[in-house]
């Protein structure tokens, strides 16, 4: 909220032109020896090297975060940044590779023995940071924590369908579901809903998890050495990780809520990497000396939500009229600086690329929402509705979402001639949560970043029971039921797209754009194969030193 909100204005243009070199760091690096270590292809990513650099030992890497963390356990505080830190410290049973396919993590292998039964065989030799081996009991305990809605309010939902979690052998855990759900595969993953922690550590520290006194304590390549909530986290490499030794010895995350301060910190060389920089300032970051910006789709979705139980949005013509008035292409090209993609569906292309390929995915999603920007058509639709002369409505927008606010201002101007008045209210992000699916807000928006690669992650909420649009359609429900059970990935994607296509004929949602995350990196380093899934896997393994 306010944190992101205070920004400067008195910075002259010279600021942009006059980046300061990170000379101190260069000197430091030159001093560091070349101890070439195998980065360990832990995530099983098959793609070949992109950046030109080598996995040299790096003593200290300082990362600037745009927001604060107050708890390190994503089950408790599930901001995307919490995931990025947790990915280095703790692991799940499985982990995504660069294309979003699941690979073994703490489970050496797994199989689905019936539509509702999953059997995981644990990796032998995996240990916690203190060297004690990971047991099946620890896994069962960790799942118990993740399932507890008071300890893990953010992820308990993903475990609600499990009826039993049992140790079936010394190195084997069997999970049984109440009803078949293919998406469950993504549950026991540190990119989604499971971080395996040591039962002994948690119990010794009073049952808390992720606080400064009871840290997140797992099996990943790093352990937390210092955590000052809302200020910084420091991680130290351990030699107990089964996946090898990443090149970075110490990773320090500093939380710098003010974007321009972060830019200045980069210019003075105080930070090496800035994660999730503001797209509006991307140009300034690119113009900063000794700095490059990497862009990657982040599986985020932004779109309009109508509450179809609230007048006048219970009228499909009203919803269609607004959909026709949304100029998605301009939002992306003008408001996002071209960094993003006009969305046509709830599912992002990156989530089905594994099945259909990059182009195939976009082609397949194109058919979902077929309402082009056309103000004449919007007018005609409104004329057919029960409010042909227009109406007044309001929308609540999080003050930390400036691009969404801008998009709604453009939409507001577009529908004004039709007699539709949209009052835009800005509010803290927490109050915005309350507008979604609320009977007080017929018009709302959703900004959602899928953590998993499961293409149905958002759709199963948005097209399922209790969806925020109060939308019900038997055909869609049947199709989504099939999506839950279909084990063949290609068929499943086909069913999912069909479900969205059918639903979108009623326009309960208007997808606006699929987002891109930008990360600024010092030219001393590069991140190999930086992509959509990089930061939710043990990503320091991919940091290479240039030159």
């Amino acid at each position: 909220m306010s944190d992101q909100s205070q920004r400067p204005f008195q910075i002259s243009r010279r600021l942009v032109l006059q980046g300061m070199g990170a000379s101190a760091l260069l000197a430091l690096l030159a001093a560091c020896g070349g101890d070439d270590t195998d980065a360990g292809d832990a995530t099983g990513d098959s793609s070949t090297g992109g950046g030109s650099g080598s996995a040299k030992e790096i003593d200290l890497l300082t990362i600037g975060f745009p927001a604060s963390l107050s708890n390190l356990y994503p089950g408790k505080e599930a901001g995307i940044l919490n995931y990025y830190v947790a990915a280095l410290v703790a692991e799940g049973l499985v982990a995504p590779d660069g294309t979003g396919k699941l690979q073994p993590a703490l489970a050496e292998s797994w199989e689905q023995t019936s539509p509702t039964t999953y059997v995981y065989t644990l990796r032998s030799g995996a240990t916690f940071h203190d060297g004690t081996p990971v047991t099946a009991d620890d896994v069962v305990y960790s799942i118990g924590i993740a399932k507890d809605e008071t300890i893990s309010p953010n992820v308990a939902y993903y475990w609600a369908n499990t009826t039993s979690v049992e140790k079936t052998a010394d190195n084997q855990v069997t999970i049984t579901l109440g009803s078949p759900d293919v998406a469950f595969e993504w549950g026991p993953c540190a990119a989604n809903a499971l971080w395996i922690v040591s039962e002994k550590y948690v119990e010794d520290n009073g049952g808390d998890i992720g606080t400064p006194t009871s840290l997140l304590y797992g099996t990943g390549p790093y352990k937390v050495t210092k955590f000052v909530p809302d200020s910084m986290v420091e991680l130290e490499r351990v030699d107990t990780w089964w996946g090898g030794t990443p090149p970075v010895k110490t990773v320090r995350f500093d939380f710098i809520p003010e974007e321009t301060t972060r830019l200045l910190a980069r210019q003075s060389g105080d930070i090496d990497i800035a994660i999730n920089i503001s797209l509006d300032q991307a140009q300034q970051w690119e113009d900063t000396e000794n700095t490059s910006v990497l862009y990657a789709a982040d599986r985020s979705y932004v779109g309009i939500d109508f509450n179809t139980a609230v007048e006048p949005f219970d009228d499909v013509h009203v919803r269609t009229a607004i959909a026709h008035a949304a100029d998605r292409a301009s939002y992306v090209s003008q408001l996002l600086g071209g960094r993003g993609e006009a969305a046509t569906a709830l599912t992002t292309p990156e989530q089905i690329e594994g099945v259909l390929g990059a182009d195939g995915a976009r082609e397949a999603l194109k058919v979902v929402l077929d309402l082009p920007y056309d103000l004449e058509a919007a007018k005609a639709e409104l004329a057919k509705s029960k409010v042909p002369d227009g109406f007044t409505t309001k929308v609540g927008i999080s003050s930390s979402a400036p691009q969404v606010s801008a998009a709604f201002q453009v939409l507001k101007a577009a529908v004004e001639p039709l007699g539709i008045v949209i009052e835009i209210e800005e509010m803290p992000v927490e109050q915005w949560f309350d507008t979604i699916g609320s009977p007080d807000w017929g018009l709302a928006y959703m900004s959602y970043t899928s953590t998993t690669g499961d293409p149905a992650e958002m759709s199963s909420w948005f097209l399922g029971e209790g969806n925020p649009a109060s939308y019900a359609n038997d055909e869609v429900t049947t199709l989504m039921g099939q999506v839950r059970e279909e084990t063949d990935p290609a068929k499943r994607v086909e069913l999912l797209i069909e479900a969205q296509r059918v639903a979108m004929l009623d326009v309960p949602y208007v997808p606006l754009w699929w987002g891109v995350a930008a990360t600024a990196v010092s030219d001393d380093y590069t991140i190999e194969d930086f992509g959509s899934y990089t930061l939710v896997s043990p990503w320091t393994s991919r940091i290479l030193t240039k030159g």
Binding site: M1, S2, P8, F9, Q10, S68, S70, E149, T211, I256
Partner: protein
């Protein structure tokens, strides 16, 4: 004097109780639900909501919730943060220290710069010094804090590379070194205000009849000045008392700009999250600091100004 002080102290306790109740009530009335905030913008079951609400006693009647909180405070337990799961006391310890350091530093700068300048300007009203400082103060009052902060950062943090750009340092001298730019930023606008008030107060006294009278009776300039300063001190100290309270409770913009984890940014985040135990603790603490400063100011005017003393005891 003692009776006066004790009476004021008792009143302060009552005031703190009132503040805690008002804030609790406001939070209760405000939109939003901490349980919902914990769940975030994701699908969630009604059962999850119920069990979280039960965990934090959010469904108890309002008065019950307040009394439960008050009972804890009386026993020295400020509760546990809903957002981060940490006990409020540990959560606050470091932040309060930092904010106190920042506010004191800025206060020292304000007092050491603005008050002497104000006196100097008033005694040489119309001079080049007076004009120069007055103009600077005028710009200072209008310049938004975050803009000043970033300008300082740009010049001293990046271009000259003298001071660190962000963070609170590793303790000891490093801490104070990190706090130089934030404290100067914080002192800027308020210093301008104190300068103007000092100047006005001293000018006002200089214009009083007794000054002309004293001069005509042949008192030396130094004696007259001492007399004037003594009389001008009451409004100046009153304003300084207010300034300290304002500094302590008003560090948020500076905290955000310089990435410092003080109580300002914590409060802002906790308010929107409706993290009641944290908001209560911070408001109470801020209120206590403000009330105690006000008490100190009152005691000072009581001791320094015989006219006030006479009226209060009469």
């Amino acid at each position: 004097m003692l009776r006066f002080a004790l009476g004021r102290l008792a009143a302060t306790v009552v005031l703190l109780l009132a503040v805690s109740f008002v804030v609790f009530a406001l939070l209760h009335l405000a939109p939003g639900d901490p349980a919902r905030n914990l769940l975030g913008p994701r699908p969630s079951s009604p059962e999850a909501l119920t069990s979280i609400r039960a965990q934090y006693h959010l469904d108890d009647p309002f008065i019950g919730q307040y009394l439960r909180w008050l009972g804890g405070v009386v026993h020295g337990d400020l509760g546990q943060s809903i957002r981060s799961d940490e006990p409020v006391t540990t959560l606050l310890a470091d932040r309060v220290t930092l904010t106190l350091q920042l506010a004191s530093f800025a206060f020292a700068i304000t007092v050491l710069a603005a008050v002497p300048l104000g006196i100097a300007a008033a005694s040489r009203a119309g001079s080049v010094i007076d004009r120069g400082v007055s103009v600077a103060a005028i710009v200072g009052v209008g310049a938004p804090t975050y803009a000043v902060g970033l300008l300082l950062l740009y010049v001293f943090g990046v271009n000259l590379d003298v001071f660190p750009v962000y963070g609170a340092g590793e303790g000891g001298l490093d801490r104070w070194w990190h706090l130089v730019l934030p404290a100067v930023t914080l002192a800027g606008g308020l210093g301008a205000l104190v300068f103007k008030l000092t100047r006005t107060a001293v000018l006002g006294e200089l214009d009083q009849d007794y000054v002309a009278f004293a001069r005509s009776r042949g008192l030396s300039t130094r004696q007259v000045r001492a007399l004037v300063l003594r009389n001008a001190m009451v409004p100046v100290v009153t304003s300084l008392g207010l300034v300290f309270g304002f500094l302590f409770g008003g560090t948020i913009l500076v905290e955000v700009t310089f990435a410092l984890q003080g109580i300002g940014s914590l409060l802002a985040g906790s308010v929107t999250f409706k993290d009641i135990p944290v908001v209560q603790a911070i408001t109470l603490l801020t209120a206590a600091v403000i009330a105690l400063t006000a008490l100190a100011v009152d005691l000072f005017s009581f001791a320094a100004d015989p006219r006030v003393r006479k009226r209060t005891t009469a």
